[in-house]
Structure formats: C-alpha cells, structure tokens
Symmetry: C2
Subunit: 122 residues, 2 copies
DNA sequence: CCCCTCCGTTTCGATTTCCGAAGCGGTCAC
DNA sequence: GTGACCGCTTCGGAAATCGAAACGGAGGGG
C-alpha cells in the first residue's frame, strides 16, 4: 500500500523509468523528465533514496539499486499495457472537438518510446 | 508516457487497485481509498472514465473495463515487488530515531493486504 | 406523512504540493 | 578570468488536494 503512495507521487514513476538505462546526474535526469522543477526533483530523489530504490554513486550520479531494478522490471507490464491503451484510445479520440474532459490527461499518442532497456546487457 | 501522467496522479493507482474485486459505488469506493476527498475522487473518476479504464454501470457503480482489468493485471508485478520491498526495508528501518527523511512516505509495514482478487472467478 | 440513512455529486475555503526561475558554491576547459 | 556545466537550495506564485458542508434523490420505519 505504501508503494502506491510512493509511486503515486508526481514524477516518481518517471524518474524510476528514466533511470532504466543507467546512472544519471541530477541535471541530466531533470532534463529527461520533461524538465521538471529541481525542487520537486530533489524531493522525489530523497524519497527514492530513503526507500532504497535508488542510490548515489561516488561521482554523485543516481542509479537504481537492485531493488530499484526489480521495481522497474515490475513496471514493464504496465508499459506494455500503455501501448495497447494507446492503440485502443487514440484511434477513436484522436480528433475530439467536443472536449469536456475536465482534465488535462494527455491522451496517448504513438509517441516515441525508444525503450533502450539494458536488462542483462551491460 | 501519457500513462505515467495518468497514473502519476494521486489516488489514480489506488482507485484502479480498489476496483479489482468488483464494481463499487462512489461513497464505498471513497471509503476504501483512505477516505480521500470527494472532489478529487470525482476528478480521478472522470479522468479514468475518459481514459476508458473504468465505466459506470446502470446502477451508477464504477467498474473496470476490460482495458482496466488489463491495467490492473499489469499492476500485479508491482504489487508483488511491494511485498519484497516491505520485507527489505521494514526490518532495518523499523525504529529510526534519526528521521531526517524530509518526506512523509510511510514506510511499508506488514500492513494487511487481503487482496481478494477475482481473476476469472465470478 | 415525516424522519433518518445512505447515495452520487458539486461547491468552496484552507492547506499542501508543485512549479519555475534565480542563486549558491564547485569543477573543468578555454 | 570567463563561460559552461554541475548538484542543490531558496522562495513567491500557481495548481492540485483536502475537508467539510450541502444539494436532490432513493429507501425504510414510525
């Protein structure tokens, strides 16, 4: 349940996701995360560090811990679902003139993913 | 990527999760979600409806769509990870007197889950 | 009928979180 | 020295969230 709290915060999932291909420094990571504000970034980073999902290398870059790697892998099915979701939703709602959506939840686009991964290839 | 946005909002994952065992009405669902505020609840519900992850039955209860079911299933590995996480973190940090955690991310507890599921049993 | 309970939903003011830009001290190349 | 990048902090304003109250409606009991 606490996991839903930790990951239910803005950007936490994204950070986990962006760290999948290897360690990143503060600012590079920030850029990858749609240039999120540094204040929130630091906050999420602290939370994830505290949760032992990530840790900091001697050169101060952030990296997924083994536990973090597992979490990222656990996210894979969700990523896969997201693609199916995009395929299901997008074709129908691509051009809604009638938008009373009441929320700015960007509908999925065939937006690049590129998922470089790096499972056991290092 | 849009999925990370949709589910990165507070309570959205939780709602998806609490709907796993079958349809629920507004107030019952609200109670299950740690009594979240009704305003946000309605907002999340609208977003999820719009995303076609849930839909509303004639008796006005909310239920996962097939797409929503898939999403919930995609969440399973994460739930599984959460347990491992709890087992890893909790034993060591159970009694931190030194708490400069800078955030109120409730550490996982051996908190009940009870996950009744209901995959193909109906 | 009235009263009481539960329901889905909306509204509104108060609190919390998030944003965004600026700034700090530090390292390295020029 | 100057300029570019770095990790990280601070702060005021915007946006998300909360929490409680309220609405009309459905149902049950007296």
């Amino acid at each position: 349940m606490a996991a839903l709290d930790l990951f239910g915060r803005r950007w936490s999932l994204r950070i986990l996701w962006e760290l999948r291909a290897g360690p990143l420094g503060f600012r590079p990571l920030q850029k990858r995360c749609d240039d999120m504000s540094s204040s929130v970034m630091r906050q999420r980073l602290t939370e994830l560090l505290d949760a032992q999902v990530i840790h900091q290398l001697p050169d101060s870059r952030y990296e997924l811990t083994p536990l973090g790697q597992e979490a990222r892998h656990a996210l894979n099915p969700l990523a896969h679902w997201a693609e199916r979701w995009a395929a299901t939703i997008d074709p129908q709602g691509a051009d809604r003139t009638d938008d009373r959506s009441a929320s700015r939840v960007s509908h999925p686009d065939t937006v690049g993913d590129g998922t470089p991964e790096r499972d056991s290839a290092d």
